[in-house]
């Protein structure tokens, strides 16, 4: 056994971008502030413009429509652009390019033109950034046929899923939760080299028999914490990390819930019409007769993200919310 390579999430993402640009000259990056000397507002692209050149790590004006549009055109013309939208809330100012163009062009052209691009974006509450710099909006893209969506929870997945995303022939929204970039809590082993994680394959992070907790991204850790707490009371939780939402691993979810007969879905995005609603609905459609209790949802409050730290903490789904939801499935 070789020594584990413990890395922070931001470094794992940086490594994936570096590898992709090294192995394929058609890969380039564009976005606000991503080049040296700043290397990105979160330093995620640190060092890459020095190594690969300013023509491949392209600083742009603060023009999200222009960024995504340029990526789309270049992708159709044979490149594999990785566009950065600094904060996920800013997707709202370029959503036409994302949903009307990136997502639909393959279909509208009858498969003649494809858009192999990635939109990397950082997201999430917990940093005191207020309502316009904290949202999880993955449901926008999930609701746009043609877009793929990945939300990694570990540094290894961040690297492996990003490499898969870059070399996929469809547009991918790649969601990075900013709380995870440089926090040692989320550090983990990352395999060396071009190691890719396939889309549509969930990871079972903990095996259990009484209830299935289904999550993705940072909230997977809240599920593990809840599972620890419940184990003390003799409740055995299975924790499934979806890793990608389009496609999502329906087979793994149905197999697990089929065994446990109880499910709780957990994510940071606001609960109403979040991806958890789709998960819950699909489980009910497939397994209604086998369920011991209705599927429960845990998500962000149905509010804008507040600023004050106590309110922001209350907005976010808590481990205690997951515990309560599990209790509700036990009737």
């Amino acid at each position: 056994m070789s020594e584990p390579r413990i890395m922070l999430t931001a470094m794992a993402i940086n490594e994936a971008l570096d590898i992709a640009m090294t192995i394929d000259p058609k890969v380039f990056l564009l976005g606000e502030d991503i080049a040296e000397p700043s290397g990105g507002v979160y330093k995620v692209t640190n060092g890459l413009s020095t190594k690969h050149g300013l023509h491949r790590v392209r600083k742009t004006p603060i023009s999200e429509q222009a960024i995504i549009g340029a990526a789309i055109g270049a992708a159709i013309a044979g490149f594999r652009p990785v566009a950065e939208i600094m904060i996920m809330d800013f997707l709202a100012v370029c959503l036409d390019q994302v949903t009307n163009h990136a997502a639909k062009i393959r279909y509208m052209s009858g498969g003649q033109t494809t858009v192999p691009m990635v939109i990397r974006t950082s997201a999430g509450a917990g940093r005191g950034f207020g309502a316009q710099h904290s949202e999880l909006l993955e449901a926008f893209a999930v609701h746009s046929p043609g877009m793929k969506v990945a939300v990694p929870s570990t540094p290894a997945d961040a690297k492996g899923l990003l490499l898969t995303a870059i070399f996929d022939d469809d547009p991918v929204l790649f969601v990075e939760q900013m709380m995870m970039y440089w926090d040692k809590t989320y550090a983990g082993h990352v395999p060396e080299g071009d190691v890719r994680v396939p889309f549509g394959k969930a990871a079972t992070r903990r095996e259990g028999s009484d209830v299935t907790l289904i999550s993705y991204g940072r909230q997977m850790y809240d599920c593990l914490a809840a599972a620890d707490a419940l184990a003390v009371d003799g409740v055995s939780c299975e924790v499934i990390d979806l890793r990608t939402l389009v496609p999502w691993d329906e087979a793994a979810v149905m197999a697990s819930v089929g065994r446990t007969s109880r499910a709780v879905v957990v994510h940071e995005a606001v609960t109403r019409c979040g991806f958890g609603a789709e998960l819950s609905s699909r489980i009910h459609e497939e397994l209604f007769g086998q369920l011991s209790a209705p599927v429960q949802r845990v998500g962000g409050a149905n509010t804008p993200v507040p600023y004050a730290s106590n309110l922001e903490a209350d907005f976010l789904p808590q481990v205690s919310d997951i515990l309560l939801a599990v209790r509700r499935t036990q009737g």
Partner: protein, 338 residues
């Protein structure tokens, strides 16, 4: 155009090539409208009639491997870039043999083999995407040029501003062609736009801007040639405003109450294709018989395309679910195919 010889005119071949493109557009449009009015076909149709000279003006400067992006009023641009008649008609009619297998329709014509890369139904949205084609050419070190077409209305949407600025900053080989037909949908330019000429806006981005009479084929040819040459030689983007008029309003069935009757009547009396035809003959560039023969050949080609399209089947029902993703399968279509 005035009926006098023009020292600024190109050679005869180019003059006739432009007439061929204009006539192809005019005759196609007339056939679409005739068939629509008689109920033979049904589709949403944005007539380009009146704007033919603009597309012909850039069309003769472009190579097959140059890129064109256009909008829902795009039939003239599709034809000027060489999209074949049969596949184009079939796509307009939603047939399996269309450019996009009947899945895109008139607002989304795509034919990469001709270099017609994107047709968008969203005003202004093609402008940022055109930059991507320009960037691809620049990164590849080729001298391919991208021409993006849009209307005067698009110059008031944010994508125009973002796209023009980025093209100037990155010196992209893109020609921005504003086909100014004086109306954005049902609203005259005077009520929506704070400048008299769209080309004035180029100065704000640090790129050359020029206004040309888009109904004058010779002047348009010259301006487009300069802009294409600048882009091809690495000189960066140009905004060309070609002023024109749309004869049939925003879309077929438009009652056109908002267009003064006299204005429209005068524009149609000065039909640029009809005037150009007369100019070619009167100035000895072509004979009546020669042009009539060109028109006959085009009419026969359109007859053939109409027949081809009308006899083509609609797409197979299974096509609803194809081309959503590259690895299109049940897992990718969860919740879609059920």
């Amino acid at each position: 155009m005035d009926d006098v010889e023009r020292p600024d005119a190109p050679d005869r071949d180019t003059l006739l090539q432009m007439f061929e493109i204009q006539s192809r557009i005019k005759l196609c449009d007339e056939r679409f409208r005739t068939m629509l009015m008689s109920g033979q076909i049904q589709l949403i149709y944005y007539s380009p009639r009146g704007q033919e000279c603009i597309s012909a003006g850039w069309g003769v400067h472009l190579r097959q491997d140059d890129y064109v992006v256009t909008i829902y009023r795009g039939l003239h641009d599709h034809l000027a870039k060489g999209v074949p008649l049969r596949e184009l008609w079939a796509e307009f009619l939603g047939r399996a043999t269309g450019t996009c297998k009947g899945k895109g329709g008139p607002m989304h014509i795509t034919h990469p083999a001709s270099g017609l890369m994107v047709t968008t139904g969203i005003v202004g949205a093609g402008i940022p995407i055109a930059n991507g084609f320009g960037l691809a050419a620049q990164l590849n070190g080729t001298d391919q040029v991208t021409v993006v077409n849009f209307g005067d209305g698009a110059s008031n949407i944010g994508a125009f501003h973002e796209g023009m600025n980025l093209a100037a900053v990155w010196k992209l080989p893109v020609v921005f062609v504003c086909q100014n037909n004086l109306y954005g949908e049902h609203t005259p330019m005077s009520m929506s736009t704070g400048v008299d000429y769209i080309s004035e806006r180029a100065a704000a981005y640090g790129m050359p801007g020029v206004t040309v009479d888009g109904n004058d084929p010779v002047a348009t040819w010259r301006v487009m040639g300069d802009a294409v040459a600048r882009a091809r030689s690495g000189g960066g983007p140009t905004l060309v405003e070609a002023r024109t008029y749309r004869f049939w309003g925003h879309l077929m069935g438009d009652a056109m109450e908002y267009m003064p009757k006299d204005e429209r009547k005068a524009a149609m009396a000065a039909d640029p294709v009809v005037l150009y035809r007369a100019w070619l003959i009167n100035n000895g560039h072509a004979t009546e018989a020669q042009l009539a023969e060109m028109e006959e050949v085009l009419t026969a080609a359109i007859d053939d395309a109409v027949e081809f399209a009308m006899n083509s089947p609609q797409p197979d029902a299974s096509e609803l679910y194809t081309d959503v993703f590259g690895d299109n399968n049940d897992a990718m279509l969860q919740g879609v195919s059920r």
